[in-house]
Every structure is written in C-alpha cells, then in structure tokens.
C-alpha cells in the first residue's frame, strides 16, 4: 500500500526474514542504523532499492522491507547503475564489502564513482573475507594470518577512501558500525547528495578478524586513535582535545602535534570538506602514528551522471522532434518497386 511517508517507522523497513549473521557481527548494528534512518529520509518505501554483491554484508537487502537485489560477486555497482538509468526516481543503495567492492569488483566501484552515478555506496570494511571462512582481503593489514596466508600476508593493503577519492568520488566518508550517532547522519548526508556517495564503514568481524578496529572503537583508547572530521572545525583529537593535525607546508604532509607543547590552536588544520588534496591526506592517515579520520572527508558536488544523461536526451528530443519508427525505417536512400 502507498503509505504516507510521515507515518513510516523502523518496523516498516524490517522484512520478515530471519537475520543470519553471526552473533556479535557489526552488520547487525549497521542494519539497525539504516532501518532506523529510513523513516527520517521521508521517502516512500517503494522508492528505496538495495543492491548488493556477494559476501556477508551483501545479505543486507534481504532484511530490508524495500526493493532489493542480491546479485553476483563484485558487480553490485553495475547492476545498481542499470537500475538508476532505468528509473532515476529511485533511491539506489549499494551494499558491499572490502572483497566485493575492492577486489573482484574494483573496476565497477571505480567507474561508478568516476561516472558519478547517483548511488549510495556503503562499503562494510572488515578487512577479511568472512563468508568464505577467513581469507585475507585487499584491506587486510600486512602480516594478517589467514587460511590462505598462514605465515602472514605480505602484500600491502589499500585504503577504500583513498581509492574512492582517486576515482573522483564527490562524496567520501568513513564511519563505524556500532556508532549509530556518527554513522546515521553521515549516511543521511550521503543519501541527500545527488551523485555517487561513498561511505566506508569500519565493521568488526567477531569470527575471523575480531578487534581489528579496537583502537578506534574502544571508548577508553579511541580518542587518541581517531579524529572526527567536521567541516570548518579544527582537526583536534585526544581525550582532552589537546592533540591536533598540522599541515607541514614544506613537505606537504600531515603531522600530529600537541597543543601547548609544539603547536598553537592556529597551527591546527581546519577541515575543509571541499578540498580534495586535504581529503586525500586525511584518508591516508593510519594508526598507530596517526589517528584514523572519520566523518565526511570530502564533499564537493558535481552534476550526477544519470541527470546528465537525461538532460542530453531531453534536449535531443526537443531538437529532433517526436521519435517516429516509420520515418526512421524510411530515412536515407529508398526506392520503390512497382
């Protein structure tokens, strides 16, 4: 039934399917956050489409009482692009993981972002392959021991947000699975953005990679290991907000400074979410030397692919007039046999 958007609640977005993630999985928290956020978006339930690839997180659409398509490994951005091209009125979400989006589907992630297709891409990054029982992933830290790397992985990981920025994504953010207060507004912004929105969600896998984000999640130590990027605000962190990020202008690098020790307030870099170079530096920050940046790292809207496609089509239709198949068949050189 066409339900008034004002009356929708979290229950309207919970499907009748039994959720089958492992107990303690970070995916539960993300699911709850998104289900709770849905009524706030004030959009009809039937206009929401969740498209996923393959992996633990890609089961997500089954649990949403919206339209959903659980596709094949790595290809969700392409399927979602087709959905959006076919019906630009829909809100199209891509639910994916580090293996799905950055390994087998790296090409599609890159092109959905550089084309700027109006998709909300939520990448659940748990730095491991969960569904296939624990092999290392393209985001696993060097030295990750797994069934396929029993002596520790030797290849270097990539940073999802750095990849997204490199591919030209106009909206790039990072958040944390269990922190609804942070995740929910970030995703809401991502939804509001007309164009490709990329949100990396640091997500704990309690079975194969438990505690991998402990430093940024554990409330006792997290303040020292993460910095919350807010547009227009200085990049301060630490329990007493006495540490900050400074731009070394000679080396074009970032450095951690201590207020009152080796820096003053005016030395601290102010987050400018429209500054691509700054976003790239923030996205690349890794612990333990640097805090991990969370929040909207980059947001600089440009016109979205599908609306450009539509505009071009409308203009052409205006200039060419009503399409007429009969005329098309008779166009060019014809002759009559009597």
């Amino acid at each position: 039934m066409n339900q008034a958007v004002d009356t929708l609640t979290i229950d309207d977005f919970s499907s009748d399917q039994e959720v089958r993630w492992c107990p303690g999985c970070g995916d539960y928290a993300v699911l709850k956050t998104i289900q709770k956020l849905m009524p706030e978006l004030k959009r009809p339930r039937e206009s929401q489409v969740f498209v996923s690839g393959i992996g633990c997180s890609s089961r997500f659409p089954y649990y949403m009482e919206t339209y959903g398509f659980h596709t094949i490994h790595g290809r969700a951005p392409s399927v979602a692009t087709g959905v959006k091209l076919a019906n630009p009125e829909l809100d199209v979400w891509v639910i994916t993981g580090d293996g799905d989006a950055l390994s087998i589907g790296g090409n599609h992630t890159m092109h959905a972002l550089r084309r700027n297709v109006d998709l909300n891409i939520l990448l659940f990054n748990n730095e491991i392959y969960g569904l296939t029982k624990g092999q290392y992933s393209p985001t696993s830290k060097v030295g990750t021991r797994s069934p396929s790397t029993p002596d520790g992985s030797v290849d270097r990981p990539l940073s999802p947000c750095a990849i997204a920025l490199g591919a030209g994504a106009p909206f790039v953010a990072r958040s944390i699975d269990t922190e609804m207060k942070h995740l929910s507004p970030v995703v809401k912004e991502a939804h509001a953005h007309e164009g490709a929105s990329f949100v990396e969600i640091l997500q704990n896998c309690p079975i194969y990679n438990d505690g991998i984000f402990e430093q940024v999640k554990n409330k006792k130590i997290a303040p020292d290991f993460r910095v919350e990027a807010e547009h227009g605000q200085p990049l301060l962190f630490g329990k007493d907000k006495n540490k900050g990020i400074r731009l070394n202008r000679d080396e074009l690098t970032l450095e951690v400074v201590n207020l009152g020790e080796n820096a003053e307030m005016e030395d601290i870099l102010v987050h400018d979410q429209t500054n691509l170079a700054q976003a790239q530096l923030l996205a690349a920050m890794q612990g333990p030397e640097f805090p991990v940046a969370i929040g909207i790292l980059y947001y600089s809207p440009v016109t979205a692919y599908v609306s450009d496609v539509t505009d071009q089509r409308l203009k052409l239709r205006e200039s060419r007039g009503q399409a007429d198949l009969g005329k098309l068949l008779l166009s060019g050189h014809t002759w009559t046999v009597k």
Partner: protein, 630 residues
Amino acid sequence: MNNAETAESIANTEPGKTPARTVANVVVRFAGDSGDGMQLTGANFTDDTALYGNDLSTFPDFPAEIRAPAGSTFGVSAFQIYFGSEDITTSGDAIDVLVAMNPAALVTTLDEVVKGGLIIVDTGAFSEKNLKKAKYEDSPLEDGSLDAYRVLEIDIHKHVIAAVEPFNLGHKMALRCKNMWTLGLVLWLFDRDKQGTIDNLQKKFASKPDIANANVAALNAGHAFGETAEMPSGIEIYKVPKAKVEPGVYRDIDGSTGLAWGLIAGGKLADINLLFASYPITPASSLLHILAARKEFDVATFQAEDEIAAVCAAVGASFAGSLGVTSSAGPGIALKGEAISLAVSAELPLVVINTQRGGPSTGLPTKTEQSDLLQAVYGRHGDTPLPVISTSTPSDCFEVAIEAVRIATRYMTPVMLLSDGYIANAAEPWLIPDIADFASFPVQFREETEGFHPSLRDPDTLARVWAKPGTPGLEHRIGGIEKSYDTGDISYDPDNHQKMTDTRRDKVLGISKDIPLQEVVMGNTSGKLAVVGWGSTYGPIHQGVKQSREDGLDVSHIHIRHLWPFPDNLKELLSGFDKILVPEMNTGHLVKMLRSEFLIDAQALNKVNGLPFKIGEIIDAIRATLAEDD
C-alpha cells in the same frame, strides 16, 4: 556469371560500339587502398544497381588495421557486390569484374577472380614503388601473369586530373576524385544510370560545391570515356536484367542496423523502455553506435567499463522495469556468463546479442564464424536453460530482434540472439515493413498487492511475475540464491531446488509451443536429403540447394531460427528425410545438438577459415552425400 550456363551472349553488331552481352548474375569487387574511397564507390554503385531493379547482396571487406600504410597489401579496402536478375542471397563465390586501383589490390584479390573475368586496373598507380609494396618483382601488366583474364588498362590518374582541371583542386585533391571517375566507367559498363550517384554527391558535399562538382565531373568523364573510347576486343557491356521482386518500398539494410531498429521496434511493441548496455568489441560495436545516435527513441545506451558491467547494468535495468539488452562477440559473451545465469536464476528478461567472430580467444576478430552455438545453448554454470534464436540475413535481423524482445518479456528469461560478423556488415535490399503489421505484446507489470510474492508465475508460460521498484506494496527481494517456489524467499530445501530446476527447464522448453512450426525454405517436406542450416549460411545453402534442384536432385533446404528450444515439429520433419546434411562455420555444433536431441544420423559439413561457404562447396557436398546412396 556464377551460373554461366544461364548467361547468354549477344554480340552487338552495331559498328563502333562496344558489344554487349546479357548475364543473369555478376560479382563485382572494387578494391583499392584504404584512402581510395572504395566503400563510398561500392555504396553508390549499390544504390544505382538497386534503383536499376536488380536483386543484390554486398559485403564490405576492410582491413583490421585502422590506418594501414598506403599501398600495402594489408591496407587494401574492398567492397564486393553480387547482383542479378534472380534472387541473390550471398555476396558471390568468385569475382567476375575486379576493379584494382593499385598493385596491392590486384595481388590480394586475383585468386578470387574467375578465369576469363574482367580486371580494370589504374595503370597510374602501378608505379615501381607501389609494385614493390605489393611484392611484385615485375609488373603483372607486362609479365603475362594476367593472360588468363581480360584486362582493361587505363591511366585513371591522368584522366581524372584532366577531368577536374577546371576546379583548381590541386594535385592531391584532384586525385581523390579517381574513385568517382572509376565508378562512372563501371556504371557505363553495367548500363546503370548515374543520376543517383550525382544526387548523392551533391548531398554529401553540399557545403563544398567545388568538391561536389569536381566529383560529378569525374563521374561524368569516366562514363563518357566508356561511351567514346575504343575498347580492346573482349570488353563487353554487361546487360543484367531486372529481378522479379515483390512490389513495395525498399532500402539497403545491413545486419547491425536491422538488429538496432528491430530492438527499437521490439521495445515499442512491448511498450517498454530499453537499456542497451555494451562494451566495444569487433564486430559487435556498430549496434552500440547506431542506437547511441537514436536518443529520441525509448532506448538508452550505456557504454560500460567492461563486458561484465554491461550485462549487469542490463540486468539491473530489467529489475527496475526496463528491458536490458547487452551485446558482444564470443569473448565478451564468455565474460557475461555469470550475470546471464543470474538473470536466469532471478527470472528477469534480458536480450543478449552475440555477433560471432572467429575464435578461440582473440581469434579472427574481423572474420566470421558460427562457433558460439554450443556456448549459447550450454555454456554457463549450473543448469541454466535459456532460449537461443538466430538471424540468417541482414533483412532477417529486424524481425529476429523483435522476436528476442517478445520471448524475453513474455517468459521473463534471458534470450541469446546469434548473429555473426558477416551478417553484421553485409547489406542487401530490404522491403521496408509496416510496423503496424506486427502484433504488439505489451508487458504487464504487477500492481495488485493481494496475494503477491516474487515467485508467482503465469500458469501457462511459467513466467515469473514482474513487479518493478517504485510500485507501492510490492517491495520484495530477489537474487541469485535459490528461491522457494512458494514464497520467493531464500530456500536451501533439497526438494525445492529440484522443483525450481525443473521449472526453469520446463519454462524454456515450453517456448517451443509459442514459436512457428519449422518450415522448409525450399523443396519438399520429405525426401532424400535435407540441408539443415542456421544463421548466415542461409545464402550459400539456399543457392546450393536451388541449383542442385535445378539439376534434378531431391534436396530440400531447412533453416532453423529457433535453436533452443527447437520448434515442436522439427524432429518429425527431419525424420522424413533419408539424409541430413548440416553445413556450419564451426566444427559441428548444430549437428551435435540434432544428433543428441533426436537420435538422427545428421552429417556435418564444416568450414572455419573465416569466410562464408561458397555455393560450389554446398553443391559439391550435396552431390557427395546423395552419391553415397549409389
């Protein structure tokens, strides 16, 4: 003159005039350097020939290299046309008239010219340098190597420079008119009217009147040369009588254009938007080009980042309520396999067009082959049945594309449509259909919420319900995991998987009741021999069977459009023949299917050299097969 016995020579006795002779059919090939404008020459000659009233078939043959060095053998661009007073279905076995604009064109084509055939050469291009590039040690015009042919040597360079002199074009630009001078001569040789070409030139160069006038002057000069010059003995004007063709309005159509317009028509008949998502690949790309230029119609195009993205975008579009169409050649279709299986599992409509080329791997990208039939029917993981149909000729493409759209939307299934490199590029006259003559098949989207679940099916077709996102109250999830027959939810139940596998199979097999019964193209519905083909072997099989029947042989031609499932009566039809011969441009795909499905002793005739069958090869095989009885 491929059937020389039907050619009748009439010596024209009028003094001072070139004698004429009447022939039923003739093959002409224009060959020159990539920069010589051979495609334009051929296209104009085709127009004039169609206007004259001959039936015809053409095949452009251009190099794989984009800008090959001038004068090189691999830079030869050619255009072949077969035309005549009878039905023409191939671009011809052997060349009767070769126009060779340089030594490279001569050396690469000579083997295909019939002994006694006419060769027109531009001596102006037979310089030492060009001869060397063509790897001639001595000029073939002087060493006697062309003695078996009739050779008309003309310094076209000299004539064209003189003809366009009033236009002050400069030497280089003036020489570029030599293709039109040559065309003028050839139009004279075949007694065609040159007005059509003059109109085309005025239109093409409307913004450059000097160029237009120079080209027209060159055309006129070439024509006048034929009329006035003393031709060497053995040179005759060809009279090719008009063909008896069905009345109506005609145009030339190539296979790619036929498919593209058929897709547009199919979308209209289904009352649905199309998303054509593709990735460039030879020889399939022209479909994307043609549709991308037609944005006024309800077909959007999407050039994806790769083959997989293309098919996935098409599948996504189908989920969202458009019809997704994707297109490629064999290697790309292999990449799309997993996503096609997803569409089978999710039961979404999809049209997949395979313009086949020589394989495996990169193979022969610009040459034709039929070696993807088994891939189309069987080449996916899991039990993944889908209907496969094929197009036989450029003028068949329009209707076959409509049929693909019809089956895909009516049965909620991917449909594989097989074309090939020959069909894509070849052109022939097409009786333009009236779209109003086609039955429409509007798609019905589900809107009723009562009793809805995503696995609901039509009891007759077994097609799954199509509920598109944006429809209130029908929110649902689909995917590649096995689904419950009763609810559409994920199901790992063993009996359910059996039931769903059977249902997918039965749905596709049931299409056999919804397609025309197999007919015999030519000949009796039973007898000694049926030649059974599919796809672009239509032309040579048709001519081969026709000529064999004229020789009194008991042979019929059956051509299968619906390759999976087969038409319901095919087994019975084939069982009425003592022998079955299956010519294919592969190592034996259809023959394998016919043998395994029907337990019949079908015999293969295979050819995989990148070229279509010659009519003679089909005739030889028919004779050999029938002779086995004796």
